[in-house]
């Protein structure tokens, strides 16, 4: 199953993002960002299931936590940036 990664500027920002989503029942996992998407080197991201993406973005917007980049992770592991 493909899943999504929301990249975050810092670990704490990723944790904050995940907390907002968990509070509304969206499963969100903080993990290190793949090197190919960690623009400035060493980054963190929040992993989401495909079905939760739209609601997650709405919730983050409502919480005034801007989303920088979203990547879809394909079954073969490749990454594709998603624009909503």
């Amino acid at each position: 199953m493909p899943y999504y990664l929301i990249t975050c500027r810092s670990l704490t920002y990723a944790q904050r993002t995940a907390r907002v989503l968990e509070r509304v029942g969206i499963r969100a996992r903080v993990q290190r960002a793949p090197a190919s998407v960690a623009e400035e080197g060493c980054g963190y991201c929040v992993r989401l299931a495909e079905r939760d993406l739209k609601q997650a973005v709405q919730q983050l917007s409502a919480a005034e936590l801007p989303v920088r980049h979203i990547y879809a992770v394909q079954p073969d592991g490749s990454l594709r940036e998603v624009f909503l």
Binding site: R9, S10, L11, T12, Y13, Q15, R16, R19, V30, Q31, R32, E40, G41, C42, G43, Y44
Partner: protein
């Protein structure tokens, strides 16, 4: 030993603090440095600690909570962020050296003292207002005097600063955990506090609550923006270079939870009641001078300074120590407060309590002081 030096460091801690420290040492490493389980646990502990601090101190953004080594470190960061060489800074007459020395270390900073006698908040506010009208770039003010337990009128001071558009740095070293500290109400630029006093965390921990622009004092790895040679421009990473004190943070989290569970107001009321009890006992003993706020004024926290006629303070503390009481004597690193209160030449003996101090303990100290005063 009867411990009455909680204004320096609380010795008795909730048992969960010790467990949390030990557990973190066994299982957690450092946040932001790896994706493995030990790093994730460290990250979760740090984040929960930030969240808990937000809940306790009226904030809603955990990123604005910065871990420091102690309140002195936090105050240095705050002062370094706000004050520039040549600035004018207003302070109260009760500041600790953790405020006065960083200010003195900055080139050409003019420090103006808003004088107001001990337990006289109206005069302090009038002075503060007058000095603000004359112009200043910052106000740095203690919330509670570490020498006399005097609770300064911080709501009003914050209001004056907001009205004048002057950033406020609050030293909450003696208030955090026993007097309400509310960032959202004060809209302070910074609030600095230690973890090892009224928050019942381990030594080597502190918090800086940030409400304004920051400048780092320490530069190094943050686990973020690693390709850049400059510090990140976002909190908390900007002010948290190097490996975190995760065992300390885990203990601080347990301490914060304890304070939240018991309640700041309840802890404060307990401590104030013990101090009033001591004041009532001690002020009727000839030869004992207590520095006490008027009854029911709500102006004194769990700290009491006193002097014994014809006895040096250090001598009194030493004798109390021999009798099994841990107290502190001298300047308490706050000569400014002694200057204001007229005790600069002698210092004072300070007795300070915590949530764990009992009535029996303070009464025992009163009896010991009464016997010493008779000699």
């Amino acid at each position: 030993m009867i411990y009455l030096d909680s204004a320096a460091t609380t010795l008795q801690k909730p048992p969960e603090v010790f467990r949390a420290v030990a557990c973190a040492m066994h299982r957690a490493t450092t946040p932001g440095r790896g994706g493995h389980r030990a790093a994730q646990l460290a990250a979760e502990l740090a984040f929960r600690c930030r969240e808990q601090a937000c809940q306790l101190f009226g904030m809603n953004d955990p990123e604005q909570v910065v871990f420091t080594m102690n309140a002195t470190h936090a105050l240095n960061l705050a002062i370094h962020s706000v004050v520039r060489p040549g600035d004018t800074v207003i302070v109260s007459g009760f500041e600790h050296n953790a405020v006065t020395r960083p200010l003195a270390a900055l080139d050409g900073v003019t420090v103006r003292v808003a004088q107001g006698a001990l337990f006289q908040p109206r005069t302090l506010l009038c002075q503060m207002e007058r000095l603000l009208e004359q112009g200043a770039q910052a106000v740095v003010c203690t919330h509670v005097s570490n020498v006399f337990g005097y609770i300064l009128p911080m709501d009003e001071i914050a209001r004056l600063c907001r009205r004048a558009g002057v950033p406020l740095i609050v030293d909450a070293s003696q208030s955090a955990g026993c007097v309400p500290v509310d960032m959202s109400r004060w809209q302070a630029a910074f609030v600095a506090m230690p973890g090892h006093k009224g928050l019942y965390g381990p030594q080597g921990t502190g918090l800086l609550l940030c409400g304004g622009p920051t400048r780092p004092l320490l530069f190094g790895g943050t686990g973020s923006h690693s390709r850049e040679s400059t510090m990140p421009d976002f909190l908390p990473d900007r002010l948290e270079a190097g490996t975190h004190n995760i065992p300390g943070i885990a203990g601080l989290l347990a301490g914060l939870r304890f304070v939240q569970r018991v309640g700041v107001e309840r802890i404060g009321a307990h401590e104030q009641r013990l101090i009033r009890l001591m004041v009532r006992r001690l002020e009727r003993i000839p030869g004992v001078q207590v520095f006490a706020a008027p009854e029911d004024s709500g102006l004194q926290s769990g700290v009491l300074s006193l002097r014994l006629r014809a006895r040096e303070c250090e001598q009194v503390a030493e004798e109390l120590g021999r009798l099994g009481f841990a107290v502190r004597a001298g300047m308490h690193c706050a000569p400014a407060a002694h200057r204001t209160a007229g005790t600069l030449d002698t210092g004072t003996v300070r007795l300070s309590v915590s949530a764990f101090t009992t009535e029996q303990e303070v009464l025992a100290a009163c009896r010991a002081l009464a016997r010493m005063a008779e000699k």
